[in-house]
Symmetry: C2
DNA sequence: TAAATTTGGTTTATAAAATAAACTTGTTTA
DNA sequence: TAAACAAGTTTATTTTATAAACCAAATTTA
């Protein structure tokens, strides 16, 4: 049977964000926006959801005088991402049983 | 940059259906329902969408006296599935580039 | 054989998601 | 100092996903 896919991660933008964050120590909002090509509004919403789920930690500070939102993946986020990838693989390897 | 994920395939149930169909010659409604664990209503809707996209071919007939809806993946469906898998891999291999 | 149940679905209603547009707050530049 | 820009947030709208309700035919049971 197909495993359930974590709906929080089964979203194009949230998955992209997690993918970026899985590869770096931390990333700020602007960087994530550039990497994902998302609109600011969409990104803001999806970051909120990931943060509420505990998959990422968000820190609001300033870089110079400009506001700067920094995100990093949490251990729970790493685990969730890994599980999602494993689950997904069951869907992709068609008919191998 | 992250490639766009085909929204028709980036859906848990539709992906499961395609995954099953990619591995068999054909499958009827009941089989797909059992394999995916979906409700009949949901399955019916998603099959329609895949058929409208040309990703699967649906044939309505009878097995004995009972109605029987048979599905099979089309060449376009195979191609779309392959592309989706490739695209998705870019999201899963975090920070490897 | 008539009623109840099951099979194989479809249609419809609803709740949740994704997304962009509009807005806010503050900063820099002309 | 007015206009433009930066970094986000909030809100509104359009899609989706999903299950519940429904339907017709076949089968089983009493």
């Amino acid at each position: 049977m197909f495993p359930k896919l974590d709906p929080l991660l089964h979203s194009e933008l949230r998955l992209a964000v997690m993918s970026v964050l899985a590869g770096v120590e931390s990333a700020d909002f602007t960087f994530l926006k550039a990497q994902t090509g998302a609109t600011a509004g969409n990104l803001s919403v999806q970051i909120d959801k990931l943060a509420n789920a505990g998959y990422i930690a968000v820190e609001k500070g300033f870089k110079g005088k400009m506001p700067c939102t920094t995100c990093r993946i949490t251990p729970e986020g790493v685990e969730a991402f890994d599980s999602y990838v494993s689950a997904l693989k069951e869907y992709l390897s068609a008919g191998q049983s």
